[in-house]
Assembly symmetry: C2
């Protein structure tokens, strides 16, 4: 059975173009960029070029881009860069952050004041929420620009303006944003994290954009790679492929986003017209590729298995938390009733998906629901 | 000009067999192992299998193997697992450790007693050195099983026995050991770190073997991957390819080591016979693939450039430190005179090297030296 992969917020398959690029680099660029010989210099040049290309795509300076092997490490590093310097400072965040931010701040909340803003059913904090939560002793504001479970967008431009005015560092998790909506890094954002494997690039690469006066501090000790912000031999083929993935997205940005939005809107519209009582989770403005839906009187776990047997891959929340089979922490914290949370499924579209797949998925979903009744 | 790559301790090219395996996985296994659908379960199965295969090669339990994206992170994680629990405990290590261990312990030495054993010209600590350094308050012994710059072997079996008897955790950096000599994990070794990119496997994978009662503690906070020891989406294709690389080595272990040793011995013997005054650095027993040589009256930096122009890649020490153009910390700490350190070059052989390459390299080296005189 042909599979329809609608879990692109968990991770993505490589596109053929990116795959070809990656394997050619894996064959040819094997030197250690710290080595001074030909093979090392080739790797170094590729790394320098990758950094420039990422910087160009994000409209920042190459010296503001730091490569990491994972977004979790990148986010932890960014957060602890502030937290370790301000052991008692107050932190403002939300109750819908990814586990790589949430676990750090939950742990910190035992040692310092942390405000977890309750975002409610919109799914994102408002600039006013953030401003009101800021105190005299606030040392950090952090939130995601796009929620990975609902796709809801946070107004990081307005929040950045507040943080800039008050002189507070603002760290943004843009992992679910990249490739799904135009990404401009507004004034006031001190530090922003993106990840490769969510945009059809191999696993093992992420980047931190760090803007002065923000100072990234390495969590690890060792060599002086990445200007001493991330010791260890750089995975140059993966990092350069990340740059390639960003460039491809940038070149076709409008088309790419339009394609994702067509898929998602067609899917959602069809299901809403076929399934009475179907609810869209997250009432705020959303990026192009996510449809988080609660199916009336349905157990999401069972339904996901049925979908899977019919060839459709979807999820009931973040993959990083989904092993637990717990109801989504995000939807729960948004204040939805337990029944709605337990019947919620996230469909997330990717560049490789087609309108035909959408139609087939809709058909199968409606059929499964019919059989159940 | 055909290149002769003799810097395999910095990093290695993929062998054709490993490359083929890796690219096939990169195409087919793209799911997130935390996802419960077909694509996720495929990735999970591949990961579980990879762990079993690594465990089998190292003769440990699958539950004792933890994958990491880099050896630096793996070593840091292992060390801090003990250090954070024992904030004042004394640490025993040597003065020739890799920077990923050295930097951690140098930083700790500002907060607690750390004994850096002076290994001398043999290049490795003796079990007696370790035993004598251990105190009442020693909470950790750590050293490498093979030095990355000299190839000198440490007797981790005897040191393991001492640590087991005294009940002290013993962390071993086996990065320069793997693939160069048989690797048995002896009694008393609590935790051991290996890296993929030194054995012709893609960058981005390392593993920690952690034996009870040793408890690995994650440095990062986030998802519950790797039994909560390393949060973040697992790079399954790379980890499975690491398993493949280990299996290939294990299957051909004797041949592989014999091949490396033939290359190194032929190279060293030829140079010693041609170059009066040539000195081998590290008088202790060495693994098969490293030849660290001091050339009389020669500046290593200049000579490395000349070698490079003649198509030969070598280095003057660890790649992780080589950007600095500082004289090797390892050779300096071994007590060699500055002149000997500044004229030292590390040649490290890999599985792809041939006897013909060795002969050509010897010829070119001798020629360069002749031209200079």
């Amino acid at each position: 059975m042909k599979r329809i992969y609608l879990d692109n917020n968990a991770t993505t398959p490589l596109t053929p173009e990116i795959f070809e690029y990656y394997i050619s680099l894996t064959q040819t660029i094997y030197g250690n960029p710290s080595s001074v010989h030909h093979e090392g210099r080739d790797a170094k040049a590729c790394l320098v070029e990758a950094r420039k290309r990422v910087a160009h795509c994000l409209d920042v300076l190459p010296t503001e881009v730091f490569f990491f092997p994972s977004a979790t490490e990148a986010l932890n590093t960014a957060l602890y860069s502030v937290l370790k310097k301000n052991p008692k400072g107050h932190v403002v965040t939300t109750n819908v952050e990814h586990v790589a931010v949430f676990e750090v701040l939950e742990s910190e909340s035992r040692l310092r004041p942390v405000t977890f803003i309750a975002v409610g059913e919109t799914g994102a904090p408002t600039p006013k929420d953030i401003e009101e939560a800021i105190r005299e002793d606030t040392c950090l504001v952090t939130c995601m620009s796009v929620n990975n479970e609902t796709g809801v967008i946070t107004d990081i431009e307005a929040i950045g303006a507040i943080c800039a005015r008050k002189g507070i560092p603002f760290i943004v998790d843009a992992v679910a944003h990249l490739g799904k909506a135009p990404l401009h890094i507004p004034k006031g954002v001190s530090c922003l994290v993106i990840s490769g494997h969510k945009i059809h690039v191999p696993k093992g690469c992420a980047a931190v954009v760090s803007k002065a006066p923000f100072k990234l501090s390495s969590l690890l000790l060792g060599g002086h790679q990445e200007w001493s912000k991330r010791p260890g031999t750089e995975n140059v083929p993966a990092y350069a492929t990340f740059a390639k993935g960003l460039e491809i997205f940038k070149t076709h940005e409008d088309d790419s986003i339009h394609h994702l939005q067509s898929l998602r809107d067609r899917f959602e519209k069809a299901l809403l017209s076929h399934i009475p009582g179907l609810l869209v989770n997250g009432s705020g403005e959303r990026v192009s590729n996510v449809s988080n839906l609660s199916f009336p009187d349905l157990d999401a776990e069972t339904f996901l298995m049925q979908l899977d047997m019919q060839g459709i891959a979807a999820s009931h929340g973040s993959a990083c938390s989904s092993g637990s089979l717990e109801p989504s922490r995000i939807l729960t914290n948004m204040g939805y009733p337990r029944k709605r949370v337990l019947s919620a499924i996230r469909f997330s579209f990717g560049r490789q998906n087609t309108l035909e797949e959408v139609d087939e998925a809709v058909l199968k979903i409606v059929q499964i629901l019919k059989t159940q009744r």
